[in-house]
Subunit: 150 residues, 2 copies
């Protein structure tokens, strides 16, 4: 594992004990541009034979402390991603944007751009807004390229 010390530091910053499983999961999450499911992570860590309950608990711990966030997919499961580098690190319910690929079902985390006025309108109507998520659906560059070449 290349960034082991970085991961250890990160875990400590979020008051999580350093364990081998957590380091492995962190390594997987840190090295992908997309959000990953429990099944994805299990597959990538197959050689370490990680217990399924331990992995669920690890992902819940990451989510609870704000190290990661989870996104519910259309097909009733969750994908996990570390918060983006430019996110405030301890901000759990920060604004968020995602791109959902309809072909490969990958979910990309995006920086949230401002400019939408729906928020202001709803606040005038008495809704109290704490965070927002903006989801784009379509085809990701990888899938689009594949399609075009065939």
């Amino acid at each position: 594992m290349q960034n082991e010390n970085l991961y250890k530091e990160l875990l400590r910053r979020f008051r999580l004990k350093v364990t081998l499983t957590r380091l492995h999961v962190l390594d997987v999450l840190a090295n992908t541009p997309v959000a990953l499911s429990h099944a994805d992570i299990t597959e990538q860590l197959a050689e370490y034979d990680i217990d399924k309950v331990t992995l669920y608990r690890t992902l819940n711990a990451f989510t609870k402390c704000g190290l990661a966030h989870k996104v519910a997919t259309e097909d009733r499961n969750w994908l996990y991603a570390l918060h983006m580098p430019d996110d405030a690190p301890s901000e759990v319910t920060s604004d968020h944007a995602h791109f959902v690929c309809d072909e490969c079902e990958r979910i990309y985390c995006l920086p949230m751009e401002t400019g939408n006025n729906t928020r202001d309108i709803k606040e005038e109507q008495g809704f109290v807004i704490r965070s927002q998520e903006y989801r784009l659906h379509g085809t990701c560059p990888e899938c689009h390229t594949q399609f075009s070449q065939q």
Copy 2:
């Protein structure tokens, strides 16, 4: 049922056969401002003792033809809502906005406002956008009022 004929017409427009269960479900969905779960609908239609599988199939049928749409919640189940009156009626993957109340977990369907430039940015980056969903999280007016009064 007040609007029985309206519902029948609606079902026929979407090429669905008219059945009693579908009329009841349609009636429930048409008379709420929020998206409803399988459990919510079962409860509201308790007197008719609707089979759970039939209800799932009904909701799937409504979703597939575009009469309704479903929203995945954080706690891995689905809420269903009819498309809004000002939606193009046969547009299945139309743009959408939702307000998610963190207190009561109700999801309100909102008209989608424009003005966000994330879409344009991602298109420049090679993502093909087919639809977008914008989600606000916070406290709805009902819950906010309750809290304030106590």
